[in-house]
Protein backbone atom coordinates (compact mmCIF):
# COMPACT_ATOMS: atom_id res chain seq x y z
CA UNK A 1 0.00 0.00 0.00
CA UNK A 2 1.29 3.48 -0.82
CA UNK A 3 0.82 6.57 1.33
CA UNK A 4 -2.86 6.88 2.33
CA UNK A 5 -4.88 10.06 2.03
CA UNK A 6 -3.84 12.29 4.93
CA UNK A 7 -5.98 15.43 4.79
CA UNK A 8 -6.31 17.59 6.72
CA UNK A 9 -3.60 17.21 9.33
CA UNK A 10 -1.85 19.81 11.48
CA UNK A 11 1.51 19.06 13.04
CA UNK A 12 0.78 21.53 15.86
CA UNK A 13 -1.71 18.98 17.21
CA UNK A 14 0.95 16.33 17.98
CA UNK A 15 4.21 16.20 19.94
CA UNK A 16 7.71 15.72 18.57
CA UNK A 17 9.22 12.24 18.85
CA UNK A 18 12.89 11.45 19.25
CA UNK A 19 14.51 10.15 16.06
CA UNK A 20 15.75 6.67 16.94
CA UNK A 21 17.19 5.61 13.58
CA UNK A 22 20.97 5.24 13.50
CA UNK A 23 23.11 7.94 11.94
CA UNK A 24 21.10 10.97 13.01
CA UNK A 25 22.71 11.37 16.43
CA UNK A 26 21.10 12.99 19.49
CA UNK A 27 18.92 16.05 19.32
CA UNK A 28 16.76 15.27 16.28
CA UNK A 29 12.99 15.09 16.84
CA UNK A 30 10.22 14.65 14.30
CA UNK A 31 6.50 14.71 13.62
CA UNK A 32 5.42 12.26 10.95
CA UNK A 33 3.21 13.89 8.32
CA UNK A 34 2.77 11.00 5.88
CA UNK A 35 4.46 7.67 5.42
CA UNK A 36 4.69 4.95 2.78
CA UNK A 37 4.69 1.61 4.64
CA UNK A 38 6.10 -0.21 1.60
CA UNK A 39 9.15 1.90 0.94
CA UNK A 40 9.56 3.85 4.19
CA UNK A 41 9.44 7.12 2.21
CA UNK A 42 8.01 9.88 4.37
CA UNK A 43 7.45 13.56 5.01
CA UNK A 44 8.30 14.92 8.44
CA UNK A 45 8.57 18.22 10.24
CA UNK A 46 11.82 18.05 12.18
CA UNK A 47 13.20 19.92 15.18
CA UNK A 48 16.97 20.02 15.68
CA UNK A 49 17.98 20.98 19.23
CA UNK A 50 20.50 23.74 19.86
CA UNK A 51 24.01 22.36 19.47
CA UNK A 52 22.88 19.52 17.19
CA UNK A 53 25.55 18.12 14.86
CA UNK A 54 25.39 15.44 12.18
CA UNK A 55 28.54 14.04 10.65
CA UNK A 56 29.11 14.24 6.86
CA UNK A 57 27.33 11.51 4.94
CA UNK A 58 24.61 10.49 2.52
CA UNK A 59 21.09 9.04 2.38
CA UNK A 60 20.05 5.94 0.42
CA UNK A 61 16.97 7.87 -0.74
CA UNK A 62 16.96 11.29 -2.28
CA UNK A 63 16.03 13.94 0.28
CA UNK A 64 14.44 17.36 0.08
CA UNK A 65 14.78 19.80 2.99
CA UNK A 66 13.48 23.26 3.76
CA UNK A 67 14.45 25.42 6.75
CA UNK A 68 11.17 26.48 8.40
CA UNK A 69 12.58 28.45 11.34
CA UNK A 70 16.05 29.17 12.71
CA UNK A 71 19.44 28.66 11.12
CA UNK A 72 21.09 25.51 9.81
CA UNK A 73 24.84 25.43 9.13
CA UNK A 74 25.79 23.21 6.22
CA UNK A 75 29.50 22.79 5.68
CA UNK A 76 30.21 26.16 7.30
CA UNK A 77 27.50 28.01 5.37
CA UNK A 78 24.58 29.47 7.30
CA UNK A 79 21.18 28.68 5.75
CA UNK A 80 18.15 30.57 7.02
CA UNK A 81 14.37 30.32 6.88
CA UNK A 82 13.25 29.40 3.37
CA UNK A 83 16.47 27.66 2.32
CA UNK A 84 15.65 24.62 0.16
CA UNK A 85 17.89 21.62 -0.57
CA UNK A 86 17.50 18.89 -3.16
CA UNK A 87 19.93 16.10 -2.25
CA UNK A 88 20.19 13.12 -4.62
CA UNK A 89 20.52 9.62 -3.18
CA UNK A 90 24.14 8.92 -2.28
CA UNK A 91 25.16 12.59 -2.30
CA UNK A 92 27.39 13.24 0.73
CA UNK A 93 26.46 16.46 2.51
CA UNK A 94 29.12 18.01 4.73
CA UNK A 95 28.57 18.26 8.48
CA UNK A 96 25.30 19.97 9.36
CA UNK A 97 24.76 21.71 12.67
CA UNK A 98 22.65 24.35 14.38
CA UNK A 99 23.80 26.60 17.17
CA UNK A 100 20.39 27.73 18.46
CA UNK A 101 18.17 24.98 17.04
CA UNK A 102 15.94 25.02 13.98
CA UNK A 103 12.82 23.56 12.38
CA UNK A 104 13.03 21.74 9.05
CA UNK A 105 10.72 20.10 6.59
CA UNK A 106 12.40 16.78 5.78
CA UNK A 107 11.14 14.69 2.84
CA UNK A 108 12.45 11.34 1.65
CA UNK A 109 10.99 10.11 -1.60
CA UNK A 110 12.04 6.52 -2.13
CA UNK A 111 13.06 5.06 1.22
CA UNK A 112 13.08 5.52 4.98
CA UNK A 113 15.26 8.28 6.47
CA UNK A 114 18.87 7.09 6.52
CA UNK A 115 22.27 8.60 7.13
CA UNK A 116 25.45 6.77 6.17
CA UNK A 117 28.51 8.56 7.51
CA UNK A 118 30.90 9.31 4.67
CA UNK A 119 33.21 12.04 3.43
CA UNK A 120 32.61 11.09 -0.19
CA UNK A 121 29.63 10.52 -2.46
CA UNK A 122 28.37 7.01 -3.21
CA UNK A 123 29.53 5.75 -6.60
CA UNK A 124 25.93 5.78 -7.91
CA UNK A 125 25.10 9.30 -6.68
CA UNK A 126 23.86 11.65 -9.40
CA UNK A 127 25.89 14.48 -7.96
CA UNK A 128 25.08 16.94 -10.74
CA UNK A 129 21.42 16.96 -9.64
CA UNK A 130 22.22 18.50 -6.24
CA UNK A 131 21.02 22.05 -5.76
CA UNK A 132 20.07 24.38 -2.93
CA UNK A 133 18.69 27.90 -2.87
CA UNK A 134 17.41 30.55 -0.50
CA UNK A 135 13.90 30.35 -1.90
CA UNK A 136 12.61 33.36 0.03
CA UNK A 137 15.33 35.78 -1.06
CA UNK A 138 16.69 34.50 -4.37
CA UNK A 139 13.65 33.38 -6.42
CA UNK A 140 10.92 35.81 -7.51
CA UNK A 141 7.24 34.88 -7.35
CA UNK A 142 5.77 33.84 -10.71
CA UNK A 143 2.19 33.47 -11.87
CA UNK A 144 0.70 30.13 -10.90
CA UNK A 145 -0.34 29.27 -14.45
CA UNK A 146 2.18 26.46 -14.89
CA UNK A 147 -0.59 24.39 -16.38
CA UNK A 148 -3.76 25.20 -18.26
CA UNK A 149 -6.54 25.45 -17.21
CA UNK A 150 -4.89 27.43 -14.48
CA UNK A 151 -5.39 28.49 -10.89
CA UNK A 152 -6.87 31.95 -10.34
CA UNK A 153 -4.66 35.02 -10.09
CA UNK A 154 -3.42 35.48 -6.56
CA UNK A 155 -1.97 31.99 -6.35
CA UNK A 156 1.74 32.45 -7.10
CA UNK A 157 4.60 29.95 -7.23
CA UNK A 158 8.36 29.57 -7.02
CA UNK A 159 9.59 26.40 -8.71
CA UNK A 160 12.18 24.61 -6.56
CA UNK A 161 12.68 21.27 -8.30
CA UNK A 162 11.49 19.69 -11.54
CA UNK A 163 11.91 16.17 -12.87
CA UNK A 164 11.91 16.42 -16.68
CA UNK A 165 10.93 12.76 -17.11
CA UNK A 166 7.97 12.44 -14.76
CA UNK A 167 7.31 16.21 -14.60
CA UNK A 168 7.16 15.91 -10.81
CA UNK A 169 7.61 19.30 -9.17
CA UNK A 170 8.44 20.83 -5.83
CA UNK A 171 7.41 24.43 -5.42
CA UNK A 172 6.58 27.16 -2.97
CA UNK A 173 3.15 28.63 -3.44
CA UNK A 174 1.31 31.47 -1.82
CA UNK A 175 -2.22 32.76 -1.83
CA UNK A 176 -2.70 36.49 -1.53
CA UNK A 177 -5.15 37.84 1.08
CA UNK A 178 -8.76 37.45 -0.08
CA UNK A 179 -7.79 34.81 -2.63
CA UNK A 180 -10.68 32.74 -3.90
CA UNK A 181 -11.21 30.21 -6.65
CA UNK A 182 -14.68 28.79 -7.20
CA UNK A 183 -14.19 25.39 -8.76
CA UNK A 184 -13.54 21.81 -7.68
CA UNK A 185 -10.26 20.32 -8.86
CA UNK A 186 -8.61 16.92 -9.07
CA UNK A 187 -5.35 15.77 -10.63
CA UNK A 188 -3.91 12.66 -12.28
CA UNK A 189 -1.06 12.81 -9.76
CA UNK A 190 -0.61 12.75 -6.00
CA UNK A 191 -0.25 16.15 -4.37
CA UNK A 192 1.31 17.21 -1.07
CA UNK A 193 1.43 20.49 0.81
CA UNK A 194 2.78 21.85 4.08
CA UNK A 195 1.64 25.26 5.28
CA UNK A 196 4.73 27.22 6.31
CA UNK A 197 2.57 30.15 7.38
CA UNK A 198 -1.06 31.21 7.15
CA UNK A 199 -4.43 29.58 6.63
CA UNK A 200 -6.26 28.45 3.52
CA UNK A 201 -9.70 26.92 3.20
CA UNK A 202 -11.04 24.13 1.02
CA UNK A 203 -14.68 23.27 0.75
CA UNK A 204 -14.20 19.56 1.60
CA UNK A 205 -11.73 19.90 4.47
CA UNK A 206 -12.23 23.33 6.06
CA UNK A 207 -9.34 25.51 7.28
CA UNK A 208 -5.71 24.43 7.00
CA UNK A 209 -3.62 26.57 9.37
CA UNK A 210 0.12 27.13 9.84
CA UNK A 211 1.63 23.65 10.21
CA UNK A 212 -1.28 22.24 8.20
CA UNK A 213 -0.52 19.40 5.84
CA UNK A 214 -2.02 17.08 3.27
CA UNK A 215 -0.94 14.11 1.19
CA UNK A 216 -3.65 13.52 -1.36
CA UNK A 217 -3.63 10.57 -3.79
CA UNK A 218 -4.70 11.23 -7.39
CA UNK A 219 -8.32 11.89 -8.44
CA UNK A 220 -9.62 13.19 -5.09
CA UNK A 221 -11.84 16.28 -5.20
CA UNK A 222 -10.58 19.44 -3.53
CA UNK A 223 -11.84 23.02 -3.74
CA UNK A 224 -13.43 25.52 -3.89
CA UNK A 225 -10.50 27.46 -2.41
CA UNK A 226 -10.08 30.61 -0.35
CA UNK A 227 -7.64 32.35 1.95
CA UNK A 228 -8.75 35.34 4.00
CA UNK A 229 -5.34 36.61 5.15
CA UNK A 230 -3.05 34.72 2.73
CA UNK A 231 -0.69 31.78 3.19
CA UNK A 232 2.64 30.38 2.03
CA UNK A 233 3.23 26.65 1.59
CA UNK A 234 5.58 24.09 0.13
CA UNK A 235 3.87 21.88 -2.44
CA UNK A 236 4.83 18.79 -4.43
CA UNK A 237 3.29 16.67 -7.16
CA UNK A 238 4.67 13.28 -8.16
CA UNK A 239 4.04 13.54 -11.92
CA UNK A 240 2.51 15.91 -14.45
CA UNK A 241 0.08 18.38 -12.88
CA UNK A 242 -3.15 18.92 -14.78
CA UNK A 243 -6.16 20.70 -13.29
CA UNK A 244 -9.39 18.87 -14.02
CA UNK A 245 -11.96 21.48 -12.93
CA UNK A 246 -15.66 20.76 -12.39
CA UNK A 247 -18.51 21.63 -10.03
CA UNK A 248 -19.93 18.33 -8.83
CA UNK A 249 -18.88 17.76 -5.19
CA UNK A 250 -20.31 14.23 -5.05
CA UNK A 251 -18.12 12.49 -7.61
CA UNK A 252 -15.87 9.65 -6.47
CA UNK A 253 -12.16 9.24 -7.33
CA UNK A 254 -13.13 6.33 -9.60
CA UNK A 255 -15.54 8.57 -11.53
CA UNK A 256 -12.93 11.30 -11.72
CA UNK A 257 -10.35 8.87 -13.08
CA UNK A 258 -12.81 7.64 -15.68
CA UNK A 259 -13.47 11.24 -16.69
CA UNK A 260 -9.72 11.77 -17.11
CA UNK A 261 -9.61 8.77 -19.42
CA UNK A 262 -12.66 10.04 -21.31
CA UNK A 263 -10.98 13.39 -21.80
CA UNK A 264 -7.82 11.63 -23.04
CA UNK A 265 -9.99 9.68 -25.48
CA UNK A 266 -11.56 12.91 -26.78
CA UNK A 267 -8.19 14.64 -27.09
CA UNK A 268 -5.94 11.80 -28.38
CA UNK A 269 -8.32 9.12 -29.73
CA UNK A 270 -5.73 7.27 -31.82
CA UNK A 271 -3.25 6.97 -28.95
CA UNK A 272 -6.04 6.04 -26.55
CA UNK A 273 -7.36 3.23 -28.76
CA UNK A 274 -3.88 1.85 -29.30
CA UNK A 275 -2.96 2.02 -25.61
CA UNK A 276 -6.04 0.21 -24.36
CA UNK A 277 -6.25 -2.40 -27.11
CA UNK A 278 -5.54 -5.92 -25.91
CA UNK A 279 -2.82 -6.32 -28.50
CA UNK A 280 -0.76 -3.78 -26.65
CA UNK A 281 -1.36 -4.94 -23.12
CA UNK A 282 2.16 -4.32 -21.86
CA UNK A 283 2.85 -5.78 -18.43
CA UNK A 284 4.98 -2.83 -17.27
CA UNK A 285 4.76 0.14 -19.58
CA UNK A 286 5.08 0.83 -23.28
CA UNK A 287 8.63 0.89 -24.52
CA UNK A 288 10.30 4.22 -25.18
CA UNK A 289 12.77 3.58 -28.02
CA UNK A 290 15.02 6.32 -26.71
CA UNK A 291 15.60 4.17 -23.62
CA UNK A 292 16.53 1.06 -25.60
CA UNK A 293 17.82 1.98 -29.07
CA UNK A 294 21.30 0.97 -30.19
CA UNK A 295 23.74 3.86 -29.89
CA UNK A 296 27.19 4.50 -31.32
CA UNK A 297 28.87 4.45 -27.95
CA UNK A 298 32.48 5.52 -27.68
CA UNK A 299 33.47 4.68 -31.29
CA UNK A 300 34.84 7.80 -32.93
CA UNK A 301 34.27 9.16 -36.36
CA UNK A 302 31.91 6.84 -38.25
CA UNK A 303 29.37 9.54 -38.85
CA UNK A 304 27.91 10.88 -42.09
CA UNK A 305 30.29 11.26 -44.98
CA UNK A 306 28.77 14.59 -45.88
CA UNK A 307 29.21 17.34 -43.35
CA UNK A 308 26.78 20.18 -42.84
CA UNK A 309 29.43 22.68 -43.96
CA UNK A 310 29.63 20.96 -47.39
CA UNK A 311 33.04 19.37 -46.77
CA UNK A 312 33.74 15.66 -47.17
CA UNK A 313 34.13 13.20 -44.35
CA UNK A 314 37.65 13.04 -42.92
CA UNK A 315 38.57 9.36 -43.02
CA UNK A 316 39.95 8.49 -39.72
CA UNK A 317 37.24 6.94 -37.69
CA UNK A 318 39.05 4.42 -35.60
CA UNK A 319 38.64 1.34 -37.81
CA UNK A 320 38.99 0.25 -41.42
CA UNK A 321 36.60 -0.89 -44.15
CA UNK A 322 38.33 -3.91 -45.62
CA UNK A 323 35.37 -6.14 -44.72
CA UNK A 324 33.81 -8.11 -47.59
CA UNK A 325 30.91 -6.27 -49.11
CA UNK A 326 31.93 -2.90 -47.73
CA UNK A 327 31.42 -0.04 -50.14
CA UNK A 328 34.45 1.60 -48.64
CA UNK A 329 38.00 0.33 -49.30
CA UNK A 330 40.33 2.39 -47.26
Amino acid sequence: MARPHIEPFCDRDVAFKKMSLAGFGNGMHYKMLSFDPDTGACSMSVQLDNGYRRAPGFSWSEVEMMVIEGELTVGGRTCRKGHYFYVPAGYALPEISTQDGCLLLFLTNTGEPSHQESDSHHALAQTDLYHDVDSYMDIPWALGNVTKPSVANGCLIKLLNFNPISQAMTFLYCMTPNFSQDNISYHDCAEESYHLWGTSWMMQFGNLPTGGYFWRPAYINHGAFASEFGCIALGRVDSKLFNHFHYNPWTTPQENRERSAARLYKRDPLLYRWAVSQNHNHPHSPQDFEDTMSRRGAEQGHDNEHKTDGSRHDHWHGHNHYDDGSAYKH
Binding site: H5, A22, T110, N163, Y247
Partner: protein, 96 residues
Protein backbone atom coordinates in the same frame (compact mmCIF):
# COMPACT_ATOMS: atom_id res chain seq x y z
CA UNK B 1 2.77 5.79 -5.13
CA UNK B 2 5.99 7.58 -4.38
CA UNK B 3 7.87 10.37 -6.05
CA UNK B 4 9.62 8.95 -9.09
CA UNK B 5 13.18 9.88 -8.36
CA UNK B 6 16.39 8.14 -7.52
CA UNK B 7 17.33 5.78 -4.77
CA UNK B 8 20.24 3.43 -4.11
CA UNK B 9 19.49 -0.12 -3.05
CA UNK B 10 20.47 -1.14 0.44
CA UNK B 11 19.42 -3.68 3.03
CA UNK B 12 17.35 -2.53 5.98
CA UNK B 13 18.39 -3.66 9.43
CA UNK B 14 16.02 -4.93 12.14
CA UNK B 15 15.84 -1.53 13.84
CA UNK B 16 14.73 0.11 10.59
CA UNK B 17 12.11 -2.57 9.98
CA UNK B 18 10.78 -2.04 13.50
CA UNK B 19 10.63 1.74 12.98
CA UNK B 20 8.68 1.28 9.76
CA UNK B 21 6.16 -1.04 11.45
CA UNK B 22 5.64 1.46 14.29
CA UNK B 23 5.14 4.39 11.91
CA UNK B 24 2.71 2.37 9.80
CA UNK B 25 0.61 1.56 12.87
CA UNK B 26 0.58 5.20 14.02
CA UNK B 27 -0.41 6.38 10.56
CA UNK B 28 -3.36 3.99 10.62
CA UNK B 29 -4.59 5.73 13.76
CA UNK B 30 -3.96 9.17 12.23
CA UNK B 31 -6.00 8.19 9.17
CA UNK B 32 -8.94 6.97 11.28
CA UNK B 33 -8.95 10.21 13.29
CA UNK B 34 -9.04 12.27 10.10
CA UNK B 35 -11.81 10.10 8.68
CA UNK B 36 -13.92 10.68 11.80
CA UNK B 37 -13.21 14.43 11.88
CA UNK B 38 -14.31 14.73 8.25
CA UNK B 39 -17.51 12.79 8.96
CA UNK B 40 -18.20 15.19 11.83
CA UNK B 41 -17.86 18.12 9.42
CA UNK B 42 -20.50 16.83 7.00
CA UNK B 43 -23.38 19.09 8.15
CA UNK B 44 -21.23 22.20 7.80
CA UNK B 45 -19.88 20.92 4.47
CA UNK B 46 -23.40 20.55 3.07
CA UNK B 47 -23.92 24.29 3.72
CA UNK B 48 -20.61 25.04 1.98
CA UNK B 49 -21.78 23.04 -1.04
CA UNK B 50 -25.00 25.05 -1.25
CA UNK B 51 -23.10 28.34 -0.92
CA UNK B 52 -20.73 27.16 -3.67
CA UNK B 53 -23.68 26.42 -5.98
CA UNK B 54 -25.06 29.87 -5.26
CA UNK B 55 -21.74 31.57 -6.05
CA UNK B 56 -21.05 29.69 -9.30
CA UNK B 57 -24.56 30.39 -10.58
CA UNK B 58 -24.31 34.11 -9.76
CA UNK B 59 -20.69 35.33 -9.55
CA UNK B 60 -19.43 32.51 -11.74
CA UNK B 61 -17.38 29.29 -11.88
CA UNK B 62 -13.60 29.61 -12.42
CA UNK B 63 -13.27 27.84 -15.75
CA UNK B 64 -9.62 28.82 -16.33
CA UNK B 65 -7.70 31.27 -14.16
CA UNK B 66 -9.92 34.28 -13.53
CA UNK B 67 -12.15 33.49 -16.50
CA UNK B 68 -15.58 32.83 -15.02
CA UNK B 69 -18.82 31.50 -16.42
CA UNK B 70 -22.18 31.46 -14.72
CA UNK B 71 -23.61 27.97 -14.35
CA UNK B 72 -27.34 27.87 -15.06
CA UNK B 73 -29.28 26.70 -11.98
CA UNK B 74 -30.80 23.84 -13.99
CA UNK B 75 -27.29 22.58 -14.78
CA UNK B 76 -26.24 22.28 -11.13
CA UNK B 77 -25.70 18.66 -10.05
CA UNK B 78 -27.90 16.72 -7.66
CA UNK B 79 -26.58 14.30 -5.09
CA UNK B 80 -26.87 10.72 -6.36
CA UNK B 81 -29.49 8.82 -4.43
CA UNK B 82 -28.09 6.75 -1.59
CA UNK B 83 -24.58 8.14 -1.92
CA UNK B 84 -22.92 9.20 1.31
CA UNK B 85 -20.88 12.37 1.23
CA UNK B 86 -17.26 11.22 1.40
CA UNK B 87 -14.15 13.38 1.07
CA UNK B 88 -11.38 11.14 2.49
CA UNK B 89 -10.36 8.17 0.35
CA UNK B 90 -7.58 5.96 1.69
CA UNK B 91 -6.08 5.06 -1.68
CA UNK B 92 -7.93 7.47 -3.95
CA UNK B 93 -9.28 5.75 -7.07
CA UNK B 94 -7.82 2.43 -5.91
CA UNK B 95 -10.12 2.28 -2.85
CA UNK B 96 -12.19 -0.88 -2.80
Amino acid sequence: MTFKHTSIEHTRNAKEEEWIAEEAAEQELRFKNIQQAMKDLSTQREKWYQEFFDRISTRGFNEDGDQKIQIAPEDLPTKPEGREDQVVWRCGADDE
